[in-house]
């Protein structure tokens, strides 16, 4: 049991930067950024290849820069060339497949055999014993989220938040919304790549398909977190993203261990959870409308009956 929780926490923190990235792009900027899947693999591929070249630590920031570049491409497509935002992400994501293969030396997976990773090196310090991995991912993820929360309270961060809220007003405040959108997408994708970079070195491997569906899972995490904690402030939103990621991994571990549902079924369930959560406000509106309509019809029918009687 303890092992399950430990693994869930580790995976939760490892994957947490992705819901954090979506918190920035989907919640704050109001853009569904589908670069995420390919960007995650890009981060993993870059970090693993650098680790293989015995630069595990350098691999992480380099992976983030590559992620930011991917975000930059998506941002350019939508802000400068008028490609609809969802399509821009899909196009970049599609192109990244080739780029990722190239990074991995044209093979569909790369394994790290007996090479040092940030995790093995951190374990060697021996400070945290068997909790070494969890402490390392905790430090990195918390640091990234603190940096994000701080950034969103700076002048540039405020402009980014206003861009998602009211772009007209941003223009009226002498800020270029194209610029703020670009910065936000770069940061979001750097976060996604950070997660990929950690996961790649943690699992000692990267596979060209390891990013499939990451964006949906991360959305599920974000939604779970927000349901549990609320989404009123920026700080709460960031905490919700991380908490959601952990809760999702706990659920995943429980399913994996108890086999209440076959593990292959988890993707379908995740998809249902995400679709339902996003559709919920609309469903609520429709049911209340139907209720009103029924009441009104009943009232009218009762009146008619009175008249006839």
């Amino acid at each position: 049991m303890l092992y399950i929780i430990k693994t869930a926490l580790e995976l939760g923190f490892l994957y947490a930067p992705v819901p954090l990235a979506l918190f920035l792009s989907f919640r704050i900027l109001n853009i569904a950024d589908l670069t995420t899947d390919g960007c995650f693999v890009l981060g993993a591929a870059v970090s693993v290849t650098w680790a293989a070249a015995s630069h595990p630590f350098l691999g992480v920031p380099v992976a983030m820069v590559s992620g930011a570049l991917a975000g930059f491409v998506t941002a350019m497509l939508q802000t400068r060339f008028g490609v609809p935002s969802i399509l821009a992400g899909i196009i970049t994501n599609f192109g990244l497949y080739t780029v990722n293969l190239m990074v991995m030396g044209w093979s569909s997976n790369v394994n790290l055999l007996k090479t040092e990773t940030i995790f093995t090196l951190f374990r060697k310090t021996g400070i945290f014993g068997s909790f070494s991995d969890i402490v390392l991912v905790l430090i990195i993820t918390l640091f990234a989220s603190l940096l994000l929360v701080w950034f969103l309270s700076t002048r540039l961060g405020l402009s980014i938040r206003a861009t998602g809220d009211n772009p007209d007003m941003v223009r009226a405040s002498s800020v270029n919304p194209r610029f703020t959108t670009t910065v936000a997408l770069c940061i979001a994708n750097a976060l996604t790549a950070l997660s990929g970079a950690m996961v790649g070195q943690y699992q000692n491997t990267v596979d060209i398909n390891s990013g499939t569906g990451i964006v949906v899972i991360a959305l599920a995490c974000l939604i779970i977190g927000e349901t549990v904690l609320g989404k009123r402030s920026i700080r709460k939103g960031a905490i919700a993203a991380i908490t959601g990621s952990i809760i999702y991994r706990v659920i995943y571990a429980v399913v994996l261990y108890t086999k209440v549902v076959p593990i292959q079924g988890l993707k379908l369930i995740t998809a249902l959870v995400v679709a339902f959560a996003i559709a919920f406000p609309t469903i609520k509106e429709q049911t209340s409308f139907l209720r009103k309509k029924r009441l009104a019809t009943n009232k009218l029918a009762a009146k008619e009956e009175d008249k006839n009687a």
Binding site: F151, S153, T154, R155, L156, L158, S159, R161, A162, D165, N166, D168, M169, V170, R171, A172, S173, S174, V175, N176, P177
Partner: protein
């Protein structure tokens, strides 16, 4: 101050929806002028503002502001020197951000040279608080409330403060009180007069209220069909009544002023 030279703008040219919104319009505004603008529906009042603010570029002509050619300057760059308010109170503020953060955004216009990574300082906050208290709406005690919680009038007053917190070279007011109830509208108009006169701001205001058009400011323009058909100021303006204005319009254009809102409010 503001010099508009022969500007024209046609929307959807070459289609059945082709609309000449501004045709060869020229206007010269002096420093410190407070000009009111009225006109029929579709006369090009808002289009004129959009052209000056840079929501689109004009097809022909030039626009100068304070001696600088701004004809092809991007909208967000013009907003550094041009403050603007719309009829819709929702347009000027970001609803999910706090009052403080909204003002901080507007204050960005002053901050050329400060780091984009700097935060709102406590001195800024004190400054915002003082400015807010001048509105007399109790907003200074709600600095951390999201703007989405405010009423239309409060949001419009806040937008006015934001548009003028860094004194603009030019303030454009597009029927900024039209969506408010009469009492609140009156209050926002009083605030507008106060802020404009205290800052000696050059201001253009579109209104549908004839009386307002003649009593506020020092010059009145009447627009029709993408151009200015009447331009009154000084003594001539002082002696003008609203019915005179309607007559004058009829004589000039040859048809009645067809703006139901104007006619209802006279």
């Amino acid at each position: 101050m503001l010099e508009i030279k022969n500007i024209s703008k046609t929307f959807s040219p070459g289609t059945v929806n082709e609309k000449k919104a501004l045709s060869d319009l020229s206007l010269s505004v002096k420093d410190g002028d407070f000009i009111t603008i009225i006109g029929s529906n579709g006369a090009g009042k808002s289009t004129l503002f959009n052209a000056v603010a840079g929501s689109f570029y004009v097809d022909e002509g030039y626009i100068f502001l304070g001696g600088q050619d701004i004809t092809f300057l991007e909208e967000h760059k013009r907003s550094r020197i041009i403050g603007r308010m719309f009829q819709d109170p929702l347009k000027g503020t970001a609803p999910s951000m706090s009052i403080e953060e909204n003002i901080a955004l507007a204050y960005l216009r002053s901050s050329e040279g400060t780091s984009p990574f700097s935060r709102i300082s406590s001195r800024d906050k004190k400054n915002f608080r003082e400015k807010l208290s001048l509105l007399g709406m109790g907003l200074e005690d709600r600095m951390r409330d999201p703007v989405g919680l405010l009423s239309g009038g409060q949001r419009q007053a806040l937008t006015l403060l934001m548009a003028t917190i860094v004194t603009p070279k030019l303030l454009l007011l597009d029927e900024h009180t039209a969506a408010l109830d009469p009492g609140t509208a009156e209050k926002v108009i009083e605030l507008t007069k106060k802020i404009v006169s205290e800052g000696n701001i050059t201001c253009l205001m579109i209104t549908h209220n004839m009386k307002q058009a003649l009593t506020i400011g020092n010059r009145t323009l009447l627009m029709n069909d993408g151009n200015i058909v009447l331009d009154v100021s000084g003594k001539e303006r002082d002696s003008l009544s609203t019915s005179d204005l309607i007559d004058k319009f009829k004589k000039k254009v040859g048809e009645d002023l067809d703006n139901d809102r104007i006619l209802l409010s006279t």
